[in-house]
Amino acid sequence: MLHIYCPICERYCDETELVCGGEAHIIRKDVTNNDQEFYDYLYARKNFKGVTFERWRHLFGCGKWFHVSRCTINNQVFGSYSIRDSRPPKSLLTKIKRLRVDFKGWIK
């Protein structure tokens, strides 16, 4: 039962208030892209075992989407940040590197 910080409500929320929207920072593809690129966008997932970056929504709360970095092995949560960020903030990446030796940096 995860406890995740909603940066809009500025409080920790029970998992049952939230929904997870999967991998973060995927760039949408459209008719200008080829089928393989479209596949990468729509289906191919990193699905990392370890530090991940994902989208969550505070569904039963403020209703807002935000980004979260979490470890998929032990569920450690490293931080939440704006849904508008197109990549994880530098400060967060520094923090994760400090906390986790296995983290090799964010991969696009």
């Binding site: 039962m1 995860l2 406890h3 995740i4 910080y5 920790y12 029970d14 929207g21 949408r28 593809k29 459209d30 008719v31 892209n33 089928d35 479209f38 729509l42 989208r55 929504r57 569904l59 209703g63 807002k64 989407w65 470890c71 032990n74 569920n75 450690q76 949560v77 490293f78 849904i83 508008r84 906390l99």
Partner: protein, 995 residues
């Protein structure tokens, strides 16, 4: 024989007798008894049968580690199987039945399994019953199923109520023994909120009950003083009778509170606790030593023997032998002696021991035999005598001692169950022979910091003196980690340092036991796992502890291996010749103590199970005989049958009334999402396959939404309320999904758009007035003009009808002249009743969802979810006209170009007219060509309007097959033939709706 002592028993009230029934016989117990203590007081030593061999079994423990004494408790709606007799309070007239025997407990025919046990070694069923193939299903498995299982299945609905409670705390302390109490009070003045949960009804754990005469007064005083301090701690809440049973991610903890007494209130409460830090003070279990014939009734854990005397004044027997490897069991000897019980001998596996406790026992005149253990137990349904043998020998009997009770102790092992629920690791303590919490590998909170510490005996620290030393120190460390300063100073340790002779970790005795002896040694009592079973598993290569466990079922019984795990691991280790730490251990999983399924469901049953969404018109429909159907979370009126009507007569009447007169439909469940802002039009152009930006204010347009994969996702009519405001209607089941979809795209992809969306589904209710007489009917209400010139087809108008504000949409899902009236939900019921009573000459009648579906099918309109199933594109539906070619982008545009979505042989929507006009194709019926399925029917009805069967279907290359006749496979033997036609069966030109 077991019996009640003339005096003593701290938990019982000797003046209050309680009647109860055991296997149909009336017995008497005392207030404060558990079922177990009451049975023992009545000399009921035999209380159950084991799972596999149906061997006689007696009460073995005094708490939740009890493997044997499982009972069926209560009757009818109160019946509960598999209840530990040690765990349940005796109540007046309680009905108690032992389990797993036939015809009776004392004479059980299935105990023949015991005689055949040599054939039933571990895994025997994997090796046999293989041929002939049918025999497993028809002969062997039914026999196994009948003889397996323990208690009887309940047959009646549970009469009890349950409830859930949510609680947040900074600190959760698990267990109110001396460690837990000391821990809880250490948080005084820290400003942290503390919850202390104790599974028992009393504080103090074993502190007072386990102390000898000398210590008793001191311990009692310490407890009293600590409890007083605790009471004065305003930040500490205490829950007794509350067993913490599961630990999950990020400090989420489950506990079950047992209430007793008040009727009509919940008897069990599930606490859902979110704790920042968990302080585990869950104590320890006494571990048995495995010896030959160790499962005969009358053999009991030494601590349990003590508990029954201390708490209930009950004795296991009047001649009790002890077998042990540690000092603690000597306390039991003294307790027995204190109560005038004969203790013929203590068999101590150690070479010698000289602590004060041992000395004292010797002074009492009790014979202590060092280096000895039990080599044999005589007696079938109760112990009659034991044979003494040498620890290091092969089990040859040197002496026989008459006795009717055996107390066994292999030392205490930490109860670290909760520690490992959520990833905490255990380490092997070689010196003491047990697994204990590894503080370097505890579970973590969301921040990645350790969120649990273990204190007291669950951490492997056992004496009061050491605990008193450990707890404040560790709590201080915890507080420092949380950057909180404690104002408390360390108190002087009130306990005196105890001197113990060291235990020697022994698990099975005698050491040199051969196979013949090992097969009489039980490790897991309930599942009848013997030493030989574990050895056989290892011999056959099931060497991993997980394999051995699954192959032998060791530790998989209702006690989850509380008494058997450590012994099992050591037996495996010995057989394989590998150190225990290499063998590892199986994972403890929630729950620590089994939770009734009804408690997990909580109060959310019956009407509170997924509460029904109801429209404002629901009550009217209910009183007017509506037949209901669930649609998403809503319930909708399926039809409104009148007296003496069959359902098909009802549907025919409702449909024809709409076609010929006027009908009313409650369509309030229709999803309504408001989209507003300067970029609203731009946004909707991306959401819908067709263009919405060109929609003029005051008009409506039908729209389709696709997923990014190109499949139809939802549909509905969009109305442009103002230049920057659109109201998007969705399917009834789809409103939440569509609203969430809008939010997701707006917040995560197009966050630079200036658009707000709001789900107004419940703010507006909707009434459809449908049929050629609808305009005439509505004219009778004063207010806005509904003339075709004022409100043409596919337009809407706002204003008042009979002083009720409405937004009237001139749209049609039936093909008839139709007005859909949106009103504020508060006004819906009033307007509905007005309309229903408005024209007796018109015979206004309500119609339900099924008539709605027939009407739309006649008109060839799709229903998302019927004609589409998540794999259907707009082209498949013949709706190319709605897919914009001009727009550069919309959700799904790219995918609609993918090769597979443009293949020639895709299934396409067509109308189907069966050659036999009266024959309605069955739901889901498939079209076949040369026996190969080429598509299926999506909607199929008898059309009252056309007085013939009609259907819609998705058929391979359907559009080019129009005009041809194809075969439909109706059943194994029957086929029907249908002509493929355009899906619009009724009023193709669309004249009727546009008048």
């Amino acid at each position: 024989m077991s019996a009640r002592l003339p005096s003593g028993g701290s938990r019982i009230n000797r003046r209050k007798k309680i009647d109860f029934q055991f296997n149909g016989r009336r017995l008497k117990g005392l207030e404060g008894d558990t079922v177990a203590s009451a049975l023992l007081a009545n000399d009921e030593l035999l209380v159950g049968r084991s799972f596999k061999y149906h061997r006689p079994r007696g009460i073995y423990g005094s708490g939740e580690d009890e493997p044997n004494a499982l009972m069926g408790i209560g009757e009818e709606g109160n019946f509960e199987p598999n209840v530990r007799a040690t765990d349940i309070q005796l109540r007046e007239n309680l009905v108690v039945k032992s389990q797993n025997h036939w015809p009776s407990l004392s004479m059980d025919f299935l105990s023949i399994n015991n005689l055949l046990s040599r054939f039933f070694s571990a895994g025997f069923y994997y090796k046999t019953f293989i041929r002939p193939r049918f025999a497993w299903k028809y002969i062997f498995e039914p026999i196994i199923r009948r003889s397996a299982g323990l208690g009887n299945a309940p047959t009646q609905e549970d009469v009890e109520k349950y409830e859930h409670v949510h609680f947040e705390t900074d600190i959760l302390v698990v267990g109110a023994g001396i460690a837990g109490i000391t821990a809880a009070k250490s948080f005084q003045d820290t400003g942290l909120s503390v919850l202390l949960c104790e599974k028992d009804s009393e504080f103090g754990g074993r502190l007072v009950s386990d102390s000898d005469e000398l210590e008793r007064e001191i311990n009692h005083q310490v407890l009293k003083k600590n409890l007083e301090t605790l009471k004065s701690c305003e930040n500490v809440s205490v829950k007794l009778n509350t067993c913490v049973t599961g630990v999950f991610d990020h400090g989420y903890v489950l506990a079950i509170e047992e209430k007793s007494g008040e009727t009509n209130s919940p008897q069990k409460i599930l606490w859902k606790i979110r704790a920042k830090k968990i302080v585990l003070c869950s104590g320890a279990f006494e571990r048995p030593i495995v010896f030959p014939d160790n499962d005969i009734p009358g053999i009991m854990l030494a601590s349990a023997v003590r508990d029954y005397i201390e708490f209930y004044g009950v004795l296991i027997g009047d001649r009790v032998v002890l077998t042990t490897n540690n000092d603690d069991a000597y306390k039991t000897a003294l307790k027995l002696k204190e109560n005038g019980i004969n203790v013929p001998a203590i068999l101590d596996a150690r070479k010698s021991a000289s602590s004060n406790l041992v000395k004292k026992v010797k002074e009492e005149g009790i014979k202590v035999l060092f280096g000895k253990c039990i080599g044999r137990v005589e007696g079938k349904k109760r112990v009659e005598s034991i044979g003494v043998c040498a620890v290091n020998g092969q089990g040859s009997i040197e002496d026989t001692i008459q006795c009717n009770g055996v107390a066994v102790s292999g030392g205490w092992v930490p109860n670290a169950n909760l520690w490992s629920h959520c990833g905490g690791k255990l380490e092997w303590d070689k010196k003491n022979g047990f697994y204990k919490p590894d503080h370097n590998k505890s579970s973590i909170g969301h921040d990645g910091e350790p969120n649990m510490i273990a204190l007291g005996s669950c951490s492997g620290v056992f004496t009061n003196f050491e605990i008193q030393d450990q707890v404040p120190r560790k709590i201080n460390q915890l507080l420092m980690g949380m950057k909180i300063k404690s104002k408390r100073s360390f108190e002087k340790n009130p306990f005196r340092k105890e001197q113990f002779s060291a235990d020697i970790p022994v698990f099975i005795l005698p050491h040199g036991a051969g196979k013949d002896i090992e097969k009489r040694m039980f490790v897991d009592f309930q599942n009848d796992v013997k030493v030989t079973d574990i050895n056989l598993a290892a011999l056959e290569g099931y060497e991993s502890i997980e394999h051995a466990k699954r192959y032998t079922t060791l530790g998989m019984a209702t006690d989850q291996g509380k008494t058997s795990n450590i012994n099992g691991i050591n037996i495996l280790s010995k057989y394989l010749g590998r150190p225990v730490e290499e063998i590892g251990h199986t994972t403890f999983r929630p729950p620590y103590k089994p939770i009734p399924l009804g408690v997990i469901a909580g109060q959310y049953s019956n009407k509170l199970f997924k509460p029904t969404r109801k429209t404002p018109i629901d009550a009217w429909s209910e009183t007017n005989n509506a037949k209901w159907e669930p649609v998403g979370d809503w319930r909708r009126a399926y039809a409104y049958p009148q007296e003496n009507e069959t359902i098909s007569q009802t549907l025919t009447r409702e449909v024809l009334n709409v076609r010929n007169n006027v009908g009313l439909l409650d369509s309030s469940t229709l999803g309504k999402v408001l989209v507003k802002g300067p970029d609203a039009a731009k946004f909707l152009d991306l959401i819908y396959t067709n263009k919405m930006s060109t929609l003029p204010v005051g008009k409506c347009r039908y729209g389709l939404m696709c997923t990014e994969a190109g499949f139809v996702f939802d549909d509905g009519v969009v109305a442009r309320l103002t230049d920057d405001t659109f109201l998007c209607h969705t399917t009834s089941g789809g409103s939440d999904r569509v609203y969430a979809w809008f939010e997701e795209w707006l917040q995560t992809e197009w966050f630079d758009f200036e658009v707000y969306v709001s789900n107004l589904t419940e703010q507006y209710s909707q009434i459809n007035v449908v049929g050629p007489n609808s305009r005439k009917l509505l004219k009778r209400l004063k207010g806005i003009s509904l003339l075709d010139s004022k409100l043409p087809f596919m337009h809407f108008a706002e204003g008042f009808l009979d002083r009720i504000w409405v937004r009237v949409y001139r749209i049609s899902f039936s093909g008839e002249l139709s007005y859909e009236l949106a009103v504020k939900s508060n006004d819906a019921a009033v307007l509905w009743e007005k309309l229903i009573n408005l024209g007796n000459d018109f015979k206004v009648e309500p119609y339900g969802t099924e008539a709605l579906h027939i009407l739309r099918a006649e008109k060839g309109f799709i229903v998302v979810g019927d004609e589409t199933d998540g794999t259907v594109t707009p082209q498949d539906l013949g709706m190319n006209w709605i897919v914009s070619k001009k727009k550069e982008d919309f959700i799904g545009k790219k995918a609609l170009n993918l090769p597979f979505l443009n293949k020639k042989n895709r299934k396409q929507l067509v109308g189907i007219l069966t050659l036999d006009e009266k024959f309605v194709l069955p739901d889901g019926c498939h079209a076949v060509e040369d026996g190969r399925p080429i598509g299926h029917v999506t909607s199929t009805y008898f059309s009252p309007t056309l007085s013939r069967s009609i259907a819609l279907g998705l058929i391979e290359e359907g559009h080019s097959r129009i005009g041809s006749t194809i075969e439909f496979s109706v059943s194994k033997t029957e086929s029907a033939f249908g002509k493929l036609v355009d899906p619009v069966f009724y009023d193709k030109e669309g004249k009727k709706q546009d008048v």
